[in-house]
């Protein structure tokens, strides 16, 4: 440490001066600080971390559609989840490393992380096991419940689905088409289960179409096909993420007006929904609330050394707007 030599002090003293620790005379402290400043000295962060025994770094990635060459930041939901998590982490002294969804498993090995967050993993995601086996705490969905080092935040997908279906039914819809994402996430799986159950309970034939890939194009294509075949349904519920105004465009293309001819609900975090014409009813998964719940769990686990597996359930929110309100005709 040549700041020490330059200041005529030991490196211990300089370290203490810079960190505000130890019992040093005011002059020595000021002198050390001044010398360091003048020399443009910055303590080596890696060395401090090694010394401290932690990394203060959290890995983050979204595991939905892992195979597809897409950027999960394209999704407003995942993008908000990512941003909020990064923000909250930093407020608590942790930085967040952004890992793309499709990266070789060993890319992670060399990364000094205290924990990882895996959003929407696949069923039996190998990454979950990898980290758990490596002793790195994993924050993900409920399927890790009960496993050593597994923490989870979950959503009441069943309640969410039913809130939408009940709302549409209350508006008089009977033939409700579900445009569902086709992947192994809990979101896709459990939502579909709930849809089928709800239809079953009412003796209604389910009418679901699946989108194989993420992105607007796949959802729009599915909607287009549904509206092309036979009489139009009473309502469309796009569970797979899509830009709301584009759904209105598709309906219009088929000569259908929203909400007069077909009701529309989108599962979306896109603020565009409130601004388009007509405003579109959305089911929000509340990514910021999920991030907050997850970060609370994470900090509790990391700071207090609390190894008890823990989990939280976060509610969703239905914002009813014009697109799903049948006009009262009087």
């Amino acid at each position: 440490m040549d700041v020490a030599r330059e200041a005529g002090l030991s490196k211990t003293t300089v370290s203490a001066a810079l960190n505000g620790t130890g019992r040093l005379s005011a002059e020595v402290r000021a002198h050390a600080r001044e010398t360091a400043r003048r020399m443009g000295y910055r303590p080596n962060a890696t060395a401090r971390l090694l010394r401290a025994g932690h990394a203060r770094l959290i890995g983050f990635t979204a595991r939905e559609y892992v195979e597809a060459p897409w950027s999960y930041l394209e999704s407003p939901y995942l993008s908000e989840l990512t941003h909020t998590t990064a923000q909250l982490a930093l407020e608590h002294g942790y930085a967040m490393v952004l890992l793309p969804n499709c990266s070789p498993r060993d890319e992670w090995t060399d990364l000094p992380v205290d924990a990882v967050i895996l959003a929407d993993p696949e069923a039996d995601d190998p990454l979950v096991d990898d980290f758990l086996a490596a002793g790195i705490p994993v924050f993900t969905d409920q399927r890790v419940e009960g496993r050593q080092g597994g923490y989870w935040v979950d959503i009441d997908y069943d309640a969410a689905m039913r809130s939408v279906l009940d709302h549409l039914a209350a508006q008089g819809a009977r033939d409700i088409v579900l445009i569902a994402p086709q992947n192994d996430s809990q979101w896709a799986q459990r939502s579909m289960d709930s849809y089928l159950a709800w239809c079953g309970e009412r003796g209604i034939a389910p009418h679901a179409v699946a989108t194989q890939r993420p992105g607007n194009a796949a959802v729009l294509k599915a909607a287009d096909e549904v509206l092309s075949e036979g009489p139009p349904p009473d309502a469309l519920f796009a569970l797979a993420e899509v830009s709301p105004p584009l759904m209105i465009d598709v309906a219009r293309k088929h000569g259908l007006s929203v909400p007069d001819d077909v009701l529309l609900v989108c599962c979306s975090e896109d603020p565009v929904a409130a601004h388009c014409a007509p405003p579109v009813t959305t089911l929000s998964m509340q990514p910021s609330a999920i991030a907050a719940a997850g970060m609370e769990l994470l900090l509790d686990a990391l700071e207090s050394g609390n190894v008890e597996p823990a989990g939280r359930v976060v509610p969703t929110r239905l914002d009813v707007r014009a697109s799903s309100l049948r006009k009262t005709r009087e």
Copy 2:
């Protein structure tokens, strides 16, 4: 290192076995690896990095509208830039830390980064100076040119602006309204300069409105106001990012059809533009190309220890679609 004790080897041997270095017999190597695997041993990443003398971590943040409480991932441009950068970095063995735009300056100090990327900094951004002073290479816009440790990627904003204006003029537009972002970025500043110059050269009175904040709402409000006062302009060019279909909705709200009554061009990376009705002409800043150019510079600087300041200019792209094509009436 208790793997060594367990295997009856020295930690040196175990290290060599795991890293594939040194001259070890196949059996010893296999034995060491097997023992490590069985014990769930993972080499400490922080220690390796300290030893190696680098961090393999790159800091990233967008500095536009630093004061506003917004998430830059809301912007399709910045979101694509962020994702692509992270992706490319990882492919080259670097992980990317995501820093929110509004964070105290000292949050960064404890972070072991080899370099930082500051997208769209403000004029005289203090963060630029902080990092340069700390000897950390900074990758940002052209204003760092010539400074020690400063590398830049820039866009030919002038050519971009002119390509749009020339296109609109060729379609017969004369009163072209520019909806411009109001901030200190090069993008906002230089684009506005070019707009004014272009108008000046043609003796056309410029007609620009500024948006104070990021997000759809501010741009839509500006557009709404322009269309409310007096006769509608020939064309709208939204340089500030906005969701294209919403711009069409605004025009429609004023009884104007795109492109029959008013031509529309948006500066946007949103894939929605190609799908809405009518499809919207976009000026793309090519964030992925920017990321690629920046990463190339960065790797060259970091790997080859090349301290020569360097820079690159990246082209933009105009995708002409129906929204800016005057219908030939015949």
